[in-house]
């Protein structure tokens, strides 16, 4: 009898998925080095022209914007998500805990399009925010919230928050509450106990959360598409425009490849930057 009888049965689906992903990636890679034949969906011969074209400032701008939006989103999500995760972990009573968890993960259950449209209802010129502010007489003309990076980041934070909270909560739940009690018994008030003990011990969770949030936002499409409305473009929106508006598949593919490399590069950079922090946490 084999030592792990179910190993093959359990691994096969994963292996099939992996093969499919690799095949898709290979296709994208292959397209990225083929020539574009205007008016045809089939690519031409091998060339590096697509990558050379990406050097135009227009595209560099989109890459920079994307990184910036991802960064701001990750930071905002961390700042908002940390207290939520802390409350979630330290809350007493199973009911309160589940209630908080459900509220936190709800954004994940809404489809991306539904969620984004609801933000349009909130942020639009005749939307909730502007109507309320106008009625209260706090503003005279509607604020421009749609088609701005602010609106995009707001909506991205909304959908990234559950991921951040869950990752931080996982890290925080591994920190024995006795550490905080020990700190308090030694004379540290709650805030100092938190800053000197809990926060440093949670850095592995912060690193994991920020990296995941970054990767999560980097691939955002519908949110910048609908809320940015062409004014705020991220890499995926550009890919969409090139691929499905201009039908320039090779160029779209090369853009995707560069985007992917950039995402990996940024995440590696992020991890390297956060490493000193991580050394502070429990090994």
């Amino acid at each position: 009898m084999p030592r792990r009888p179910f190993l093959r049965a359990f691994v096969s689906p994963a292996a099939l998925c992996a093969i499919a992903f690799v095949a898709a990636m290979a296709a994208v890679l292959q397209f990225s080095v083929r020539a574009y034949i205007p008016g045809s969906l089939d690519p031409g011969g091998f060339t590096l022209v697509n990558f050379a074209a990406l050097l135009k400032p227009l595209y560099g701008r989109v890459f920079l914007d994307t990184v910036w939006i991802c960064f701001i989103t990750a930071v905002c999500t961390l700042v908002i998500g940390y207290p939520v995760a802390y409350a979630l972990v330290r809350a007493k009573g199973a009911f309160l805990k589940s209630a908080m968890l459900i509220v936190v993960v709800t954004p994940l259950f809404l489809g991306e399009v539904v969620r984004t449209y609801s933000w349009i209802v909130v942020l639009g010129n005749n939307g909730f925010v502007n109507t309320v502010l106008l009625k209260l007489g706090m503003i005279e003309r509607p604020l421009q919230l749609m088609f701005t990076s602010f609106g995009v980041v707001l909506a991205l934070v909304h959908v990234t928050l559950p991921v951040m909270v869950i990752m931080l909560a996982a890290a925080l739940s591994h920190i024995d509450p006795d550490y905080e009690r020990a700190a308090e018994s030694l004379g540290a008030g709650p805030i100092r106990a938190f800053l000197s003990v809990t926060l440093p011990l949670s850095t592995p969770g912060i690193v994991a959360g920020v990296t995941t949030a970054f990767a999560w936002t980097f691939s955002a499409f519908a949110t910048p598409q609908l809320i940015g409305g062409g004014q705020v473009n991220m890499v995926s929106n550009l890919v969409y425009q090139l691929g499905f508006a201009s039908f320039n598949f090779p160029f779209a593919a090369s853009l995707s490849v560069v985007g992917l490399v950039l995402a990996f590069g940024m995440i590696a950079l992020l991890r390297a930057g956060l490493r000193p922090l991580e050394a502070v946490g429990p090994q």
């Binding site: 550490y179 009690r181 020990a182 018994s185 540290a188 429990p282």
Partner: protein, 381 residues
């Protein structure tokens, strides 16, 4: 150096601490968690400089009491005083207490020295003074040379010492220890107990120690508080608790005990006369209130208070040897006997001769060797 191990018991009673009140004082302190009464109306005085042990089975309320003194929990009712100050509403970080946690709770991201210095840094002491105190405290717990290690690089016993040093560095008013040795193996536990006692004597710090291990409580404490089901059952010196338990629960929880069927003969003031077989025995009357002469009672008697009946002795009961168990220094002799409530009697012999002298199956007559026994009304069953 004064040695208070010898002044336990009676002498301490005749010399109460200044003011006549405990250094740590609980007055009618209760704490419930939902429907569970974790601590009920606890009133307790802890004397300055003593080691007081909270002893009781798991779930008895020991940790709850400790957490109330530390300030990690607020009582539902009652008041707590430390050094004459009411602290019921004072948060833990202003109570100046040292706590040794069961799992040590050493900060894993700090070195040994930083752990010990933590409480001093929180008090914003000048750096040289912190360094001096850290070195002093590490020397006290014999950890010199390990300053720069992290807790993970230490053995369990070493981590324990760091935790003790960290708690002691702040010169706490009260030292609280919650089952600190339960994770250590038996040998290490014994030496840590001794060491704790030595350090405690040297510093004279008032100490509350929690354990569910009765032998640890007996060997370590100046006084013992027996707690079960959230109630204080008895407070006394180890000797009092062991020799003169005032409750059936205390008698059976602390130490090995034989429960024999006996009869109340008469009550004469503070003493009661008990008949067991042909033997007569004087026991305290306090635990037999409400019992009429002639009523059946249960005699709680320690193994070492029983011996073999010799010719001329009054035999208390008889039993048949059912097993020996060799304990190194002595042999436990198990007897099957009708006279015991559980059907079994435990006797103790020094050395190993008992195994050869009374093989399994031998019938033995048992007599009472001493007068240290207590009796309780027979349980209704």
């Amino acid at each position: 150096m004064k040695n208070r191990a010898e002044t336990s018991g009676i002498e301490q009673k005749s010399a109460p601490p200044a003011g006549g009140q405990g250094f740590v004082r609980l007055e009618g302190v209760s704490k419930r968690f939902g429907d569970v009464v974790a601590l009920h109306e606890a009133t307790l005085d802890v004397r300055r400089g003593e080691i007081l042990t909270l002893l009781g089975p798991s779930g008895g309320g020991k940790t709850t009491l400790l957490n109330l003194v530390a300030g990690f929990l607020l009582p539902d009712s009652g008041a707590i005083h430390i050094a004459g100050q009411p602290v019921t509403e004072v948060p833990p970080y202003r109570r100046e207490i040292g706590v040794l946690f069961q799992n040590y709770a050493l900060f894993p991201h700090m070195s040994v020295a930083a752990n010990v210095a933590y409480g001093l840094r929180m008090r914003r002491l000048p750096r040289p003074e912190i360094a001096r105190k850290v070195a002093e405290t590490l020397a006290l717990v014999r950890l010199v040379g390990l300053e720069n290690r992290t807790p993970r690089q230490l053995s369990g016993g070493q981590q324990q010492r760091v935790a003790l040093a960290r708690a002691l560095a702040i010169s706490p008013k009260v030292l609280l220890l919650d089952e600190p040795f339960s994770a250590l193996d038996k040998n290490l536990r014994g030496s840590m107990q001794l060491e704790l006692k030595e350090i405690q004597r040297k510093l004279g710090v008032t100490t509350i120690f929690v354990t569910h291990d009765q032998s640890e409580a007996l060997s370590l404490s100046d006084r013992i508080v027996v707690l079960s089901e959230g109630r204080i059952r008895q407070v006394g010196t180890p000797g009092e608790i062991y020799r003169r338990p005032t409750e059936r629960f205390v008698a059976s929880f602390v130490g090995d005990v034989n429960v024999l069927r006996a009869r109340l003969e008469e009550v004469d003031g503070e003493a009661a006369q008990i008949a067991i077989g042909a033997a007569k025995l004087a026991v305290p009357a306090g635990t037999l209130r409400g019992c009429a002469p002639g009523a059946p009672v249960e005699l709680f008697i320690r193994p070492e208070q029983l011996r073999l009946a010799e010719t001329g002795d009054e035999t208390a009961c008889e039993g048949v040897v059912s097993a020996h168990s060799y304990q190194g220094g002595h042999v436990d002799l198990h007897l099957a006997s009708e006279a015991a409530v559980s059907g079994r009697i435990l006797m103790r012999w020094p050395g190993t001769e008992a195994i050869a002298r009374w093989p399994v199956g031998t019938r033995i007559a048992v007599a009472c060797a001493g007068t240290e026994a207590v009796a309780f009304p027979a349980s209704p069953s």
